[in-house]
C-alpha cells in the first residue's frame, strides 16, 4: 500500500482460472476498495460531527460561538424551505457561484495562457515575473475595496477578485509545467516539423496538464473565497452576504450553514474536475485497469 510502484495485493489464482473469473475478481476487489474508502470517509465525518454535537450539547464548547451540527442542519433546512431574509437560498447561492465560476474560468485560462507564454519565452519571463510576484503579495482584502471603487458594486468587481485569487496559483504551476516539459520530446516534435504553436499545443500543453490540474484543484476553492470577500465589501445578495449578516447577528449556526454550503458546492465542482482530469489523463499508466 505504501509503495506506489507495487501493485495492490491481488488474489492468487490457480492456473486455469478463466479470464472472466479473474476479471470479476478484479472488479470485486476494486469495489471492495471503494467501499472501504467510503466507510472511512463516512466514519470520520460521523465522528467529527458527533464530537462537535456532543461537545456543544455538553457545553464543552460554547454553541453560541460554534453552533452545533443539528443547529446548522436546521438552519440549512429552514433556508432551503423558507428562503433567507435576502431572498431564496438558491438565488444567493447562484449569485456567488456565478461570480466564482466566471472568475475561476477567466482566472485559470489567463493563468494558463500567461504561464505558458512566459514559460516559453525566457526573456519575457525574466522581465515580468518580478512584477507578477510583487502583485501576488498584495492582500486581496485590500484589493477588494479598490476593485469595487473601479468596477462598481456589480458582478465585475467580485469576478475580478475571484480572478485574482485564481490567476497566480494557476500561473505559477502552468509556468513551471512548461519549464518541466521534456526537452527530447520538444526536440522530436520540432524535427517532425512542428511549428512553435504546434509544439505548444501538442507537447507543452499536454505535459503541463497535470501541473495545471494540480493548481485547478485548489483554485476553485480560492475563486469562491474571492467572490465571498468581494461580497463582504459590498453586495446585495450572495453567500458572502449571508455570512456577513450571520456574523453581525451572532448567528453561528447561520455562518456555519453558509460555510457548509460552500463546501458542498466546492466538492461537487471538485468531482466534476476530477472526471475531466481523468478523461484527459487516460493515457497514463493506470494500475486498477490491470486484470489480476
Amino acid at each position: 500500500m505504501a509503495n506506489i510502484a507495487m501493485e495492490p495485493a491481488a488474489a492468487r489464482f490457480r492456473p486455469g482460472t478463466s479470464d472472466t473469473e479473474i476479471e470479476a475478481a478484479a472488479l470485486r476487489s476494486i469495489k471492495r476498495r471503494k467501499q472501504v474508502v467510503l466507510f472511512w470517509q463516512i466514519a470520520i465525518l460521523v465522528i467529527a460531527l458527533g464530537l462537535w454535537e456532543i461537545s456543544s450539547q455538553l457545553n464543552w464548547i460554547d454553541p453560541f460561538f460554534y453552533a452545533s451540527p443539528s443547529l446548522v442542519v436546521d438552519r440549512l433546512y429552514d433556508w432551503a424551505v423558507n428562503g433567507t431574509t435576502e431572498g431564496s437560498l438558491w438565488y444567493n447561492l447562484g449569485i456567488t457561484m456565478e461570480e466564482a465560476l466566471i472568475g475561476f474560468f477567466t482566472g485559470s485560462i489567463a493563468g494558463v495562457v500567461v504561464g505558458i507564454g512566459l514559460g516559453r519565452n525566457r526573456m519575457l519571463s525574466d522581465i515580468f515575473s518580478v512584477y507578477i510576484k510583487a502583485i501576488n503579495s498584495i492582500p486581496r482584502v485590500v484589493l477588494a475595496p479598490i476593485f469595487i471603487m473601479i468596477m462598481g458594486l456589480g458582478l465585475a468587481s467580485k469576478v475580478a477578485l475571484a480572478f485574482i485569487m485564481v490567476f497566480f496559483v494557476v500561473f505559477a504551476n502552468a509556468f513551471q509545467g512548461v519549464r518541466e516539459a521534456d526537452r527530447d520530446m520538444i526536440a522530436n516534435a520540432r524535427i517532425l516539423g512542428a511549428s512553435d504553436w504546434q509544439v505548444t499545443r501538442t507537447v507543452i500543453v499536454p505535459s503541463a496538464m497535470s501541473w495545471i490540474f494540480a493548481s485547478l484543484h485548489v483554485s476553485f476553492g480560492f475563486a469562491i473565497i474571492g467572490a465571498i470577500v468581494g461580497e463582504f465589501v459590498g453586495a446585495r445578495f450572495g453567500i458572502g452576504q449571508l455570512i456577513s449578516i450571520a456574523k453581525g447577528t451572532f448567528d453561528a449556526a447561520g455562518m456555519f450553514a453558509a460555510i457548509v454550503l460552500v463546501m458542498i458546492v466546492t466538492l461537487v465542482a471538485e468531482y466534476i474536475m476530477t472526471l475531466v482530469e481523468n478523461r484527459l489523463a487516460k493515457w497514463r499508466p493506470q494500475q486498477s485497469l490491470d486484470t489480476h
Binding site: 469595487i148 465589501v233 449556526a253
Partner: protein, 310 residues
Amino acid sequence: HAADKITIMVGGYEKQIYLPAKLAEALGYFKDEGIDVELLNEAAGVDAENQLLAGAVQGVVGFYDHCVDLQAKGKFIESVVQFSQAPGEVELVSAKHPEIKSFADLKGKNLGVTGLGSSTNFLSLYMASKAGLKGGDVVSIPVGAGGTFIAAMQQDQIQAGMTTEPTISRMVKTGEASVLVDLRTVDSTRAALGGTYPAASLYMETAWVDAHKPEVQKLANAFVKTLKFINTHSAAEIADKMPKDFYVGDKEGYIKALEAGKGMFTADGVMPEDGPKTVLAVLSEFSKNVKGKQIDLTKTYTTDFVKQAM
C-alpha cells in the same frame, strides 16, 4: 430621473444602530415615496465612504464623524438625515475586574476598540481624558466586534472595551461584563461626553445632494417617517418588522436590547444643536486628520430636507 435607482450602502444593516435603513425598506416607505432604493451591506465601515466618494453608491448609512473627518481631507459630504444622537455604544468592563468602577480606574489597562482610528477608539480616549487620564495611561487594542471582542475579554487581553449590540446584551447576559458607561441614551451620553453625540446617519456627497434635491427629499421623507415609527412603536412591534435572521434564536434578547437602545434615535432626523460640536471636540483631540484643521461644521450636515419632511 426619479426612476433612477439610488444605492445606499449600510455599514452592517443587521446592526441595531443602523436599524432605520432596513426598517424603512420593510415598511415600504421607499416605495411609498416612489423611489427605487437598493440597500447594500458592507461589513467594515470605512470602505463605504470610499465607495460613496468614488460614486459607486449615492448614500451611506454610517457614523456622522466621517463627515467631519473627510472635510479635513477636502472632501465634502453631509449628513442628510440624522438617525441617532448617541453613539449606541457601551463601554463594557470585564467581570474579572470588579475594582474598575469608573473611567479613572482604567489607568494602565487595555481598552478594546473595534479598530485604531475608529470612532470607538476616539470616544474611549476622549472619555479617558475627561476622567483625567493622560495619553499613554490606557492602551487601545483593536479587537473588532462580536466574537473576537468577547474572546479578548474572556482571555483578559482587554479589561474594558467599547462595543455595540448584540455583543453588549450577550456579555451582560452571561455576566462576563457589566456596563461602565452607557452611550445608548441621550442623557448618559451627555453626562459622559458633555453633549449629544450624533452618530448613525444617512450622509451623501454635498455635490450630489445639490444636484438631486427632489430625490434626496423623498429619501428624507421616508427616513423621517421611519424614525417616527420607531418613536411611536414598542421595541417588540419594531422587531416584528425586521427580517427574522437579525434576531435568530433570541428574539427576546433582541427586543430587550432594542428597548435599551431605542432612545438614541432622533424623533425627526434633525441634527441636535450641540451634537456636531461634541464630535469635533472628540476628533480634534485625537484624530490626526482633524487635529489643527479648520472645520466648517455647518457644511457637515443639512437639516433642510428633514425639516421639509415634517
